[in-house]
């Protein structure tokens, strides 16, 4: 049993090391700096600049958080403070069911619903032409995918706020909304931050749903209607050619390593924030 446990944990290290080893070839050719900042992606010529993909990931995740965070906060406030009990019992399961839907289904929905929506109804107001395949589409799909994550954590945090504290504010003549804004929000801040960080790290790694709707062209996006190419999509799309072009497999492993490190970092940060929060509340 001990061996199994040790093995399982060692996997974290093994994954990291394994990916690193496989990235060696490409790291020996160019430095970390070049790889991360160059925009030239020409595998056949041996040029691997990961900047567009990093930007693609950032754009898509950024859009997702901008959409999801306000919506989820408002929803969580409604569920915990305003919704009558019966309504609450119906709402919560449906939000949770969202988390059970496989990512590829989100992708199909994105293609069927979001893409035409953008192409026909949204983009024409802003740009001359858009296929609809864009970082905006990726962001919207991602946002819906992280709804249940944020809502469940924020609701849990809000539920730990003692009613007496809220009563203290109400007793002074504040409205419910004022109480939420000035008291609950402040108390819940660490939890909300932790939820956001967790949601970001989930969004970074989401592969298939985003891949299906974001356009997959290796250029840095300059507007929400541009196509993007996040890191996971890069890996997934090109695994076929991996072994036929020299150094391609190493490049893709490097991309995987990048992803792994970023997510590891975010995970550790959110864990620290949550631990701090627990200590604070225990006081």
């Amino acid at each position: 049993m001990l061996i199994l446990t040790a093995l399982s944990v060692a996997i974290v290290l093994v994954i990291g090391i394994g990916l690193y080893i496989k990235s060696e070839p490409i790291l020996s050719k160019s430095s970390w700096g070049t790889l991360l900042t160059s925009s030239q992606w020409k595998p056949l010529k041996g040029l691997f600049g990961f900047f567009p993909f990093i930007m693609g990931t950032l754009w898509v995740t950024g859009i997702a958080i901008i959409i999801a965070l306000p919506l989820c906060l408002l929803t969580s406030f409604y569920i915990t403070e305003y919704a009558p009990n019966r309504l609450r019992r119906i709402l919560v399961p449906f939000v949770n069911l969202l988390s059970g839907i496989p990512p590829v289904i989100f992708g199909v929905w994105g293609v069927l619903f979001i893409i035409p929506l953008i192409q026909d109804h949204i983009a024409p107001h802003f740009v001359e032409f858009s296929t609809g395949y864009s970082v905006l589409a990726g962001g919207i799909v991602l946002a819906v995918m992280i709804f249940p994550l944020i809502v469940s954590i924020v609701c849990e945090v809000l539920n730990t706020i003692p009613q007496e504290l809220k009563n203290a504010s109400l007793a002074l003549g504040a409205t419910k909304w004022e109480t939420i804004r000035k008291v609950s929000l402040r108390k819940a801040k660490p939890g909300i931050i932790a939820a956001t960080v967790l949601a970001i790290s989930r969004a970074f790694g989401e592969t298939i749903a985003v891949l299906m709707v974001c356009g997959n062209s290796p250029d840095v996006p300059h507007s929400v209607f541009d196509a993007g190419y996040p890191l996971p999509a890069l890996i997934a799309n090109n695994y076929g050619e991996m072994l036929s072009i020299p150094m391609y497999d190493s490049a893709l492993m490097f991309a995987a390593l990048l992803l792994f490190l970023i997510i590891l970092l975010f995970n550790i940060i959110s864990r620290l924030v949550l631990a701090r929060l627990e200590r604070k509340l225990a006081l």
Binding site: P162, E164, L165, N167, L170, A171, L172, A174, E178, K182
Partner: protein, 253 residues
Amino acid sequence: MTNNPHISIQHLGVQIGNHEILKDITINIPNKKVISIIGPSGCGKTTLLKSLNRLLDDTPDIKVTGKVLVDGEDIYDPKAEVTHIRQKMGLLSQRPYPLPMSIYDNVAYGPRIHGTRKKVDLDEIVETQLKATGLWNEVKDRLHAPATRLSIGQQQRLCLARGLAVEPEIILGDESTSALDPVSTSIIEDLFIRLKEKYTIVLVTHILRQARRVSDYIIFVYMGKIIEFGPTEEVLLSPKQELTKDYVKGFIS
């Protein structure tokens, strides 16, 4: 006993789900006095208190019947403005609940919400109320420190200052010294005695000695009904009802 009752409760009934907590309560609360509500646990004392500032509103499955007149107006009238009613009453709960902000902001919270913006005005209010509750000298150098750093006794006084800052007419206290040490307790008791010059004070307590020390009148509640109401000495030392006699019998010291 009462010339112009500040609070007049008429046939108040409170029911939560199937459980009738308060039954047909009718009583006039005298003006600018301290009134203590006593009675065994679970008999409706706190519910009675909370019904006075409509903090029961959000309790699920709750039904309130009857009228509660404050200054002649029924606070349960559907057209009544809840935040306005609550502003008239300051609440001190069992445990102090300082808001998650600085000492200054705690006291300034109420006035800010009700429209006072100028720093000069707020400064004055903060100083006045902290002095009124005896906290000023202890905290004047750290007004912007988080309120949670104060001791429990200080926090409760802060909550009182906070409640006074919105200029209520009535102060409600829900066993407000039960979490405090004896020194802080007596400070708060003294405050109540002094404050009754300006405010009507309604307290819930299960400490009979405290009731005797602080209040002018006592209401004895049992199983959701008012059993006896009268001046302190009368109710505690020569009660008229059997139930009251049973409750206070161990008290005469």
